[in-house]
């Protein structure tokens, strides 16, 4: 039982024990408060990236409510962060690219919806149907809207730029008024968009370039009134010889 070879082997086995520490980094999320263009926000992030953003207003200025919501949704313990992750603060101010995001645990469709939404440039809007199509499921318009209604990382993935097809800005995680305020701050002309929608204009083409766009597209806003043509549907525009814009991708010719 206690022969030397065996006891040496047994004590060598202890040497197989690892010295690694730092698993807490992998398991815990960190949280912090930060200013944003929608007021103060609480932010939770992991070693992978930012995973949850909520305005202080939406949780009654109570960090505990934010933390509970995070734990209930993501099942991770939290600790207070020393400093915010790189790129977070400028992104919350609306300048600079978003920081790394942690979207693990979301379904493939949810991730595709958020990825499509992230491609909408500042100062422009897209209808929910566009997001559904860009996410690879043109029929899932309501499902796409539901995903955005639960967007874990609003402001960083700009779900406020996704609006109703009828020209109304529609619902927002933090209320429709906040959505309008964010869009106006990005110089979206909401009155013009609404006026177009009332007139049945959802797409705008230029007869000099022969390109048709969403009304808020950078290319559409450059068209002078004399050369501007409004269309109710993309199909009409295409029938009249217009090509869908490659920037705002109003859709494939139906």
């Amino acid at each position: 039982m206690t022969d030397p070879i065996e006891s040496s082997m047994v004590s060598s086995l202890m040497g197989l024990a690892a010295q690694l520490g730092g698993l807490a980094e992998r398991v815990f999320a960190s949280w912090t408060a930060a200013p944003s263009r929608a007021g103060a926000v609480f932010v939770a992030f992991t070693d992978v990236g930012v995973g949850f953003v909520r305005t202080a207003e939406s949780v009654g200025d109570d960090p505990a409510r934010f933390l509970d919501a995070y734990r209930a949704r993501f099942g991770r313990p939290l600790r207070e962060a020393g400093k915010p992750p790189r790129g977070l603060l400028p992104a919350l101010r609306g300048t600079g690219r978003p920081p790394e995001l942690d979207l693990r645990g979301l379904t493939a469709f949810e991730q595709a919806v958020l990825a499509a939404t992230a491609r909408v440039p500042a100062g422009q809007t897209r209808p929910y149907g566009w997001v559904a199509r860009e996410a690879g499921n043109p029929g899932a318009v309501r499902a796409a809207a539901s995903v955005l209604a639960r967007n874990p990382v609003p402001l960083l993935v700009p779900c406020h730029r996704v609006v109703r097809a009828d020209g109304q800005v529609g619902e927002y995680l933090f209320g429709g008024e906040r959505k309008k305020q964010l869009l106006r701050a990005e110089s979206v002309n909401l009155d013009e968009v609404a006026a177009f929608a009332r007139a049945g204009v959802h797409f705008i083409g230029s007869d000099t370039t022969g390109v048709v766009c969403f009304p808020t597209c950078h290319n559409a806003r450059r068209i002078t009134p004399a050369h501007r043509h409004g269309f109710r549907t993309l199909a009409t525009a295409v029938r009249d010889g217009y090509r869908p814009c490659k920037r705002c991708r109003p859709g494939v010719a139906a």
Partner: protein, 193 residues
């Protein structure tokens, strides 16, 4: 003594789950990672397994009331979750085709003594680790729990889900087998300081 540690952990978990859980991670992460290393093939997988185990433990604890937490034997409980998680991962992997093998870095050395010591020590450890891998699953786990991470028999039995006598016999058969697969030329005392 471990019971004292676990006793403190239980109290901390009841007082504040997240703060207490940080203590749990600190107290047991090396044990979990050491056992995970023997249940997986690559250090990166072992780290994933250990982290996954801790997340599962946390999610379970969220649903436990104070009474249940106070009755918990934290270390064997964590190791049981580790064992089940590894088993599920292995089952899932067998159902899905493996991804193409990626670029692999060499195993990290576990301690940092002098360079020669490290080379000699490292080689002996590598041989021993390879031998341990040749044991049947239950013996490998039993030997790992008892002799790599130094668990008492009662906890080994709890993790294996068997009576203590059975646990002892898994350990001694495992050691026997380990000796038989180790290269015979290995002089005693080598790799041990």
């Amino acid at each position: 003594m471990v019971d004292d540690i676990d006793g403190g952990l239980r109290t901390a978990l009841v007082a504040d789950l997240d703060v207490g859980f940080a203590d749990v991670v600190r107290a047991h992460e090396r044990t979990l990672y050491s056992v995970a290393l023997q249940l997986t093939h690559r250090p990166a997988d072992a780290e994933d397994l250990a982290a996954d185990t801790l997340l599962r433990a946390y999610r379970a604890l969220r649903g436990y009331d104070a009474q249940r937490v106070m009755a918990l034997r934290v270390r064997p409980w964590l190791l049981t979750i580790l064992r089940n998680t590894a088993r599920n991962a292995a089952r899932d992997a067998s159902r899905r085709p493996a991804p193409p093998p990626g670029f692999e870095t060499a195993e990290e050395p576990s301690a940092q003594p002098s360079v020669e010591e490290q080379a000699e020590h490292g080689e002996a450890q590598r041989v021993l680790g390879a031998a341990l891998r040749q044991l049947p699953d239950v013996q490998r786990l039993a030997v790992t729990l008892r002799h790599v991470v130094d668990l008492p028999i009662s906890e080994v039995a709890e993790v294996l889900g068997c009576p203590e006598g059975t646990a002892k016999s898994h350990i001694s058969r495992g050691l026997q087998r380990l000796r038989s697969v180790l290269p015979a030329a290995e002089p005693s005392g080598r790799g041990v300081r």
